[in-house]
C-alpha cells in the first residue's frame, strides 16, 4: 500500500515494508495491530538476529498465537515501548536495521530516537498502519496536539483553531498547524474527518 504522490513533498510516502537484506541484525518495532503485515514479514525472516519489540497489546496477542520463534519483547504502551527502544539502541552495533510500524505519531517518535543514536535514513524503514491520525505542531505556540483526525483542530497549547497542513517535519515528527481564520476572524471551513 503506497500512497499517491503528496501535494507537499515533505509529506512522507510509505512503501510496502520489506526486510533489508543488507542488514546483519534487525529490530522490528510494532506499535499497531496489522496482522497480515506481521504474518507476511515473520513468515520469511531476514538473515541475522531478529528482535520484535511490540507496544500494541492486540499485536502482541497475535504474535504469541502465531508461534513465531523471533525474539519478542512486549512493552505496555507507546511510552514504555520508546524507552525500551532507546535502551536497545544504546548498546546496539553497526549493521542493525530498524523497522518501524504504526501510526505516524509512534513511528516518527521512534525515528527521532534512532536519529539521536546516529542512525541514518538508510538504516531505518517506516510503515504507517492503523490510524491516520496526525500529530500537529502549532507554529504560534509550539505545542504539540496528538491524535488529530480532522482538518481543523483546537491547539492543545493556545486553543486557536488550527488548519492541519500537509507540510511535515521529520525532526518534530509532526504536521504544521496554523490559525485558520487569521485573515477573517470567525470565518472557518466546516470541520471534516480527514485522517480517520
Amino acid at each position: 500500500m503506497s500512497a499517491a504522490a503528496p501535494s507537499i513533498k515533505s509529506q512522507p510516502v510509505y512503501h510496502a515494508l520489506e526486510w533489508d537484506a543488507a542488514g546483519v541484525s534487525h529490530l522490528l518495532f510494532v506499535a499497531a495491530d496489522d496482522r497480515p503485515l506481521l504474518e507476511r514479514l515473520l513468515a520469511a525472516p531476514p538473515r541475522g538476529d531478529l528482535t520484535v519489540l511490540v507496544t500494541d497489546a492486540a499485536a502482541a496477542d497475535h504474535l504469541r498465537a502465531s508461534g513465531s520463534d523471533a525474539h519478542t519483547v512486549v512493552e505496555d504502551g507507546l511510552a514504555r515501548g520508546l524507552e525500551a527502544l532507546e535502551s536497545f539502541l544504546r548498546t546496539a552495533d553497526m549493521g542493525l536495521r530498524l523497522y518501524l510500524v504504526g501510526c505516524e505519531d509512534a513511528i516518527w517518535q521512534a525515528a527521532g530516537i534512532a536519529a539521536r543514536y546516529g542512525m541514518s535514513s538508510a538504516e531505518i524503514r517506516l510503515f504507517q498502519t492503523g490510524t491516520k491520525a496526525r500529530p500537529v505542531f502549532c507554529v504560534h505556540c509550539r505545542a504539540m496536539t496528538r491524535g488529530v483526525r480532522t482538518n481543523l483542530a483546537d491547539c492543545s497549547g493556545c486553543g486557536r483553531t488550527l488548519f492541519v497542513r500537509d507540510h511535515f517535519s521529520r525532526r518534530l515528527g509532526a504536521y504544521m498547524g496554523f490559525q485558520i481564520d487569521a485573515e477573517e476572524p470567525g470565518v472557518k471551513p466546516p470541520v471534516e474527518v480527514a485522517y480517520p
Binding site: V139, H140, H167, A182
Partner: protein
C-alpha cells in the same frame, strides 16, 4: 561613501520609505511579461557600482532600522534564531565571511582587526565595539551566528552538506515570506521547499540541489525570488500570522499603491571553508507598488506578470485576496505597448 541611514519602522505606524535612489536600485525581478520558476542561478561576483549586486552583502539606507526590527522580533520570540549543535564550526565560518566582507566593502562603517585568534570588530552604524577570541563562543555576547546576523540585513540559513543532500540546520529568520524556521529547521533541501508548487514537477529542485552540492569556495552564486507583502512589514512569519493575516483584507483601491509592496529576495549562496556548509542569505527588498510604477516599464511589466500569474502560484504566495485590486490599479498604468526584455527601470 557613507550611507545615510533612515530612522523608520516596519510595524505599527510603518514609517518605512525608500529614497529615490532606493527605488532606482530596487532589484526588480521581471525581465519578461510572464513569470515561471527556473534555476535562475548566476555567479555572485560583483555588479555595477551602487547596485544591490556590488558587494557580497548589500548594506543600504534601511540597515539600522532593519537591525532594530530584528532585535524586537527576537525579543518577542527567541526561536527565530535556531542552530543545531553540530553547526558550531559553520557558525564561525559565517561570522568570518560576513565580518571580513563588510569591513572590506564598507570601510566607512565596519572595521575588523585580526591578530591571530584575537579579533576586534567595530560596527559604527550600530555603535558596537567588540574584542573576542575567534573560536571561543564565550567571548561573544551571543553565539557567533546570532551575533553577526543581528548586525546584517536579510535572513540567513546555514545548510549542512551530508548524505548527498543539504540540511537547513541553522537559521536567523525574522523577515521571511511566510515560512517557519522553528518548523523547518533540520529539513532536507526538498522537504524544506516542499510547499512550493510546480517547481518540483519541472525538476527545479533536483537541478538546484545537484548544482549547490558542488558549489565552490570563493565562487558564490545568486538568484532572485519574489512575493508581495501588505504594509512594509518584515515579520510576516507563520508564527505571527494572527497579527498580520488581517492586513491582507485591508487593501482598497484607494490605499493599494502605498500599502501593497513587492518583496524581492536577493538570494546568495556561499560555500563555507572549514565546515563545508553553505550559507544561504535571503536579502529582502521592499518597494510599494506606487513607487515601482513611477518607472513606467516596471509598472506595466508588474501588471502583466500579476495579471497572468497562475492561480496556484498566487495562492502559494498568499496574494489571492488582494491581487485583483493590485491588478486593477496597475492596469491604469499599462497602455499595452510592447516592452523590451530586461529588468532595467528606464
Amino acid at each position: 561613501m557613507a550611507i545615510a541611514f533612515h530612522d523608520e519602522t516596519f510595524r505599527n505606524d510603518y514609517t518605512y520609505r525608500n529614497s529615490d535612489e532606493g527605488v532606482r536600485r530596487f532589484p526588480f525581478p521581471f525581465g519578461q511579461d510572464e513569470y515561471m520558476y527556473s534555476v535562475n542561478i548566476e555567479p555572485h561576483a560583483g555588479g555595477a557600482p551602487g547596485s544591490v549586486y556590488e558587494h557580497a552583502f548589500d548594506i543600504d539606507e534601511h540597515y539600522v532600522s532593519e537591525c532594530r526590527d530584528r532585535a524586537i522580533t527576537l525579543e518577542r520570540d527567541p526561536g527565530r534564531c535556531e542552530s543545531l549543535p553540530h553547526m558550531i564550526d559553520a557558525e564561525w565560518d559565517v561570522l568570518e565571511l560576513i565580518m571580513t566582507s563588510l569591513a572590506r566593502d564598507y570601510p566607512d562603517h565596519f572595521r575588523l582587526r585580526q591578530d591571530g585568534t584575537h579579533w576586534h570588530w567595530i560596527n559604527l552604524p550600530l555603535g558596537i565595539e567588540q574584542s573576542f577570541v575567534f573560536g571561543d563562543a564565550a567571548t561573544l555576547p551571543y553565539p557567533p551566528f546570532e551575533y553577526i546576523t543581528r548586525q546584517t540585513q536579510g535572513d540567513f540559513v546555514i545548510l549542512d552538506q551530508r548524505d548527498g543532500d543539504l540540511w537547513a540546520d541553522s537559521g536567523m529568520i525574522t523577515q521571511q515570506a511566510d515560512w517557519s524556521l522553528t518548523f523547518d529547521v533540520g529539513m532536507s533541501f526538498k522537504e524544506w521547499h516542499g510547499p512550493v508548487p510546480r517547481a518540483h514537477e519541472i525538476g527545479v529542485f533536483d537541478r538546484a540541489l545537484k548544482y549547490l552540492l558542488m558549489l565552490q569556495l570563493g565562487k558564490p552564486v545568486r538568484r532572485l525570488n519574489w512575493t508581495m507583502t501588505v504594509n512594509p512589514r518584515l515579520d510576516t512569519a507563520p508564527e505571527t500570522y494572527p497579527e498580520w493575516g488581517q492586513d491582507r483584507a485591508s487593501v482598497t483601491p484607494d490605499n493599494v499603491a502605498k500599502k501593497v509592496h513587492l518583496r524581492v529576495e536577493l538570494q546568495t549562496l556561499f560555500r563555507l571553508p572549514r565546515s563545508n556548509g553553505v550559507l544561504f542569505s535571503i536579502r529582502g527588498y521592499l518597494a510599494s507598488v506606487g513607487d515601482l510604477a513611477r518607472y513606467p516599464r516596471w509598472g506595466k511589466r508588474l501588471h502583466r506578470v500579476l495579471r497572468d500569474l497562475p492561480q496556484d502560484l498566487a495562492e502559494y504566495k498568499g496574494l489571492v485576496r488582494y491581487k485583483p485590486t493590485v491588478v486593477a490599479w496597475l492596469s491604469q498604468q499599462d497602455d499595452g505597448a510592447a516592452l523590451e526584455v530586461g529588468t532595467h527601470p528606464e
